[in-house]
């Protein structure tokens, strides 16, 4: 790491430096250019480095004085300071006064603890700063090492393996045959009640009925749902037919209400 901070580069895009960082500039300007630092901790670390002592033995009190002096200088030059620099200044001023107080009046955490914490944070930031520099200085691909300029490339050819079983074929053939078979075949074994059987059934039941009966009461009670549907349709048609013949009276009190019928020959 350099002892002096490098001038603040203009950020062309987030994260990437602009191509040509400006070279060494006026030292006085550097001194007050807070944009150079990545926040107050970074400024503190830079000040600490100027003390040229090991961070483990740094005098936090001295560092505090230097920081506050910086902030004052900036204030005198009417520079806009980011809030976090001022917060740090306030906190350091508090720390300084606490460190100077007699031990007996100290609160918890003690100012020594606060100073130690700051020292540890500075050490960690310094460690990462140095690690970053060493990382960037390694032989890097595309800068120090180069890959082959025109590799032939490797190709993966996909071959489709179609999967189908014996049963799939047989089943598919059955489906085709079934699908294209004559329609008659499919109606044959369907459970239906013909109009004729409904007519005889309804008229027979009407003959013995005493009062109004609902149409549904004429349906075979234990038939499967498919037959019941068919019986309902046939019985309705039969009821209309019987009414037309004058053999039955029909009555429906409301639209879609139960349809009732009774014998007209009472």
């Amino acid at each position: 790491m350099n002892d002096t901070p490098s001038p603040a580069p203009l950020l062309s895009e987030a994260g990437w430096d602009a191509q040509a960082p400006a070279d060494a500039e006026d030292a006085a300007r550097l001194y007050i250019e807070l944009d150079n630092w990545e926040g107050p901790l970074d400024l503190l670390l830079d000040l600490a480095r100027r003390q040229k002592v090991d961070l483990r033995t740094i005098s936090i009190l001295e560092l505090t004085d230097q920081y506050l002096e910086y902030i004052d200088t900036a204030g005198a030059l009417k520079l806009e300071l980011a809030a976090d620099y001022l917060v740090m200044a306030a906190w350091l001023a508090y720390l300084k006064s606490a460190l100077l107080l007699p031990k007996a009046e100290q609160e918890d955490p003690s100012p020594e603890e606060l100073a130690l914490r700051l020292q540890l944070r500075l050490q960690r930031l310094a460690a990462m700063r140095e690690a970053a520099a060493r990382l960037m200085a390694r032989d890097r691909l595309g800068r120090d090492n180069f890959l082959r300029g025109a590799p032939e490339g490797l190709r993966v050819m996909k071959r489709k393996a179609w999967q189908c079983e014996w049963f799939d074929i047989v089943h598919a053939y059955g489906q085709v045959k079934a699908r294209t078979a004559p329609v008659v075949h499919m109606v044959k074994d369907r459970a239906v009640m013909t109009l004729e059987s409904a007519l005889s059934r309804v008229s027979a039941m009407l003959g013995v009925a005493i009062d109004w009966m609902e149409l549904r009461q004429f349906l075979p009670p234990h038939a499967d749902p498919q037959l019941r549907r068919s019986a309902l349709a046939s019985s309705f048609a039969a009821a209309l037919e019987l009414a037309k013949q004058g053999k039955a009276d029909l009555r429906q009190d409301t639209a879609f209400g139960p349809l009732r019928l009774r014998s007209a020959e009472r």
């Binding site: 996909k158 393996a161 179609w162 045959k177």
Partner: protein, 217 residues
């Protein structure tokens, strides 16, 4: 004998180059030194290795050894299930061969995309077996020996006949099979409440899905 650092330099320059380079191109990277001895040395060094240095006209480049070209391609099998349309076509070819596409369509009762037959030919299960001598001379298709092998058949006669299919319930009309399945689903719903039928819908869902993309093979 070329200087070792020159040989290394030529080697690196040619490796990183995006195009074949003449001796002069290379020399420009190496302070104008004569690189011909270094090229000769590298050419000899790489002889018989997996990489070789070759000269085409005035230009030099590295390439993988020609006899290893097959290693640079790798085949990967992608297992895919035959679509329902393709399965039906295959079944029809197997039962009726040789058949033309028009005949397949009339048996299936739906149009058949060209791609469907292509898939079956790609799989190696059917082949074009000449042309029918009728107007338009349509191509007719038949199964291949690979078809018999894949499905474990001695001959096409091993396929079950219509009577056997009927006995196995495989000739039940689709609609009825559907209704049965629907009935089961209704029952399932009644039994198990609103969520009860998740998973019981499979037969229909599958049939429907297969029908939909049946032709897209």
């Amino acid at each position: 004998m070329a200087r070792p650092d020159l040989v290394r330099g030529v080697e690196a320059v040619l490796f990183a180059a995006t195009e074949p380079m003449s001796a002069q191109d290379i020399a420009e990277h190496l302070g104008g030194e004569d690189v011909t001895p270094a090229l000769r040395e590298l050419e000899a060094h790489y002889k018989g290795r997996g990489i070789e240095l070759v000269r085409r006209g005035q230009h030099w480049h590295f390439q993988t050894a020609a006899d290893l070209a097959s290693l640079l391609r790798r085949e990967r099998e992608e297992v895919r299930r035959l679509s329902r349309a393709a399965t039906e076509c295959l079944a029809i070819v197997a039962y009726h061969e040789p058949v033309s596409r028009a005949e397949i369509e009339s048996i299936r009762g739906v149009q058949t995309a060209k791609g469907t037959l292509d898939v079956l030919m790609e799989a190696g299960w059917i082949r074009a077996a000449g042309r029918r001598e009728v107007p338009g001379r349509p191509v007719i298709y038949a199964t291949t020996p690979a078809f018999l092998t894949h499905f474990g058949l001695q001959s096409r006669r091993d396929l079950p006949g219509l009577a056997e299919l009927r006995a196995a319930g495989l000739l039940d009309p689709v609609e009825e099979a559907m209704e049965r399945a629907m009935g089961e689903r209704e029952a399932g719903r009644d039994d198990a409440g609103d969520d009860g039928n998740i998973g019981r819908t499979d037969p229909n869902a599958r049939t429907a899905a297969l029908d939909n993309d049946g032709e897209s093979a």
